[in-house]
């Protein structure tokens, strides 16, 4: 290894090298800095599904999923308000682990909703998911969706699946709502940030740490692993309240225009997966449709309380209160027009 060090004046070649190095550094710094820039959180048009100034929430009871969906959409007043926003729809499902419905959104349900959207002339539908990383051979973003049969069924059914790496900073944009009490940005998937229409397809489940998961909590899957990891490590059991607040901020960063809950069955007693005393309650046979995700959670929490004696509405009150305070929707069902029908 050389041990001599002689200082020389900068010649032309040295100057050019230095210049190229400085330019490369400046470009890289610019790109890096730009990727860290916090943008304004998504501004979305007001809830398109309202009646007499109240958000509309349609509950359909029945056995035939397609008939229930069609009746629910009709009771909602049709999908024309959505069609005015664009022709491309991005679906969000709940894919937290490789376990079938009601732990995860059923692919048949996604296809049924896609068919209804096509009938309303929204021709392009796709499913966004981010539940894996390319940094591990066994946890690739498509891995869980493939095991569940979601990838094949949706692709064959004409609904492309956009599975993204939850660790890749290039897949996310930082957004922040000044109204959040935690003045830190959230890294939301840029595909969701830029999608003109998002239709959320939640399932109804208990959750070990935040007690309940439906339309709000499912957006943990819409943000980067960095955010999920920070919340899970700083509030491992959900007792500090950070997780209750942050899950609302994650949902606020996405703001779907329509939520269609598949509550034909629900996961009671424990969750978000099977095991730990979790119990699938079959025969609930309901679909819930609304543009108001807070109202959806308020209604579905009542549904859970009816079927799970270990669950009370107090358990979900902190997140509903916080969501309502941020203007995400109505937590008080008296302020919502609930339409219950049979199909």
């Amino acid at each position: 290894m050389s041990t001599s060090s002689v200082s020389k004046p900068l010649d032309r070649r040295g100057f050019l090298r230095l210049g190229a190095g400085a330019l490369a550094t400046a470009l890289a710094a610019f790109k890096w800095g730009r990727s860290l820039t916090t943008r304004a959180w998504k501004s979305t048009p007001p809830n398109p599904f309202v009646a007499a100034g109240k958000p509309l929430l349609v509950v359909v009871e029945g056995e035939d999923m397609s008939a229930m969906l069609r009746a629910g959409i009709e009771a909602l007043g049709g999908l024309d308000p959505l069609a005015k926003l664009g022709r491309e729809v991005m679906f969000r499902g709940n894919y937290v682990m490789s376990q079938p419905y009601p732990v995860t959104t059923a692919p048949e349900f996604v296809l049924a909703v896609a068919a209804e959207l096509k009938r309303a002339s929204m021709n392009k539908t796709s499913l966004f998911d981010s539940s894996g990383t390319r940094l591990g051979a066994a946890i690739q973003p498509e891995h869980m969706l493939r095991r569940l049969g979601v990838l094949d069924k949706l692709t064959q059914g004409g609904v492309p699946v956009l599975a993204r790496d939850f660790s890749d900073p290039d897949e996310f944009v930082f957004v922040q709502n000044p109204a959040w009490p935690i003045a830190k940005p959230v890294a939301v998937a840029h595909l969701l940030h830029e999608a003109p229409i998002i239709v959320s397809l939640p399932v109804v489940k208990r959750h070990e740490w935040v007690n309940f998961t439906c339309a709000l909590k499912m957006h943990f899957g819409s943000v980067a692993m960095a955010d999920r990891m920070l919340v899970h490590t700083k509030d491992a059991d959900g007792r500090s309240g950070l997780m209750h607040q942050r899950l609302v901020h994650f949902a606020d960063a996405v703001r779907p225009q329509l939520n269609v809950v598949d509550a034909r069955a629900i996961l009671a007693r424990s969750g978000p997966g099977m095991g730990g005393g979790a119990e699938v309650v079959q025969g609930v046979n309901k679909l819930i449709l609304s543009g108001d995700m807070v109202a959806v959670d308020a209604y579905c929490a009542r549904l859970m309380a009816q079927h799970d004696e270990t669950f009370t509405l107090d358990m979900v009150a902190p997140q509903l209160r916080h969501a309502a305070a941020l203007g995400l929707g109505k937590a008080d069902l008296d302020a919502v027009k609930v339409v219950e029908i049979r199909a």
Binding site: M1, S2, T3, S4, S5, A24, T25, L27, A28, A29, K31, W32, S35, L36, T38, R134, L135, G136, A137, Q140, D165, S167, D168, P169, D170, F172, F174, I182, K184, P185, V186, A187, V223, A224, A226, D227, M229, L230, T233, K234
Partner: protein
């Protein structure tokens, strides 16, 4: 008292070269801090620059390539820098592809460190320095990546900021460059010092 405490640190940071006559001369290589800063800066620059091309694979290739360039330039061997950079980048790209179906693309880091270790070893004059650097390089690279990721995670957790947490792999790249270059600097100072009378090269 204070001088006695600082003496070992000074001897570590600024070691003396033993001349053939048994007398000691001050070490005239680059300061250890420069090796550290070059490793840190080049690997970070490579990682960010790789983002212009794509995701993990180009980022990893550019970061390991930039580290090889830093090593070659500090050794005043521009050709070795180029050879090291190109070979480390190609091998890391291959390792990322293999890692996608076997274990993890993170395999690329120790593999690339081994390549840098082999190419960088030619800069040493003494066999013990060469062998030590070749053997230590994959270990240093791996530990650097893990330590860098862990450091970023702990900082992000302390600040509760996902902007920092999102840079976890940048931290890994920085740790890789830092430890590998410091390893090269230390090997040069400790193991590649000029021959003492009677010692076999």
């Amino acid at each position: 008292m204070r001088a006695a405490l600082l003496a070992p640190i000074g001897a570590f940071l600024f070691p003396a070269k033993v001349s053939g006559g048994g007398t000691q001369q001050p070490y005239r290589g680059h300061p250890l801090l420069l090796w550290a800063i070059a490793g840190l800066g080049f690997s970070a620059l490579g990682w960010v620059a790789g983002g212009f091309v794509g995701s993990w694979a180009p980022r990893t290739a550019c970061a390991v390539g930039a580290t090889a360039i830093a090593l070659g330039l500090l050794n005043r061997q521009p050709r070795a820098a180029l050879v090291g950079a190109v070979s480390a980048a190609i091998v890391s790209l291959a390792a990322v592809q293999i890692g996608k179906s076997f274990f993890s693309p993170l395999l690329a880091w120790p593999v690339a460190a081994l390549v840098i270790g082999v190419v960088g070893a030619f800069a040493f004059r003494r066999r013990r320095a060469r062998i030590t650097f070749i053997v230590a390089a994959p270990f240093l690279g791996s530990v650097g990546v893990v330590a860098g990721m862990l450091a970023i995670f702990l900082i992000a957790r302390g600040l509760n900021d996902s902007r920092v947490a999102a840079q976890i792999m940048l931290g890994g790249a920085v740790g890789f460059g830092l430890l590998l270059m410091v390893g090269a600097g230390v090997a040069g100072r400790w193991l590649d010092a000029a021959r003492v009378a009677g010692e076999v090269l």
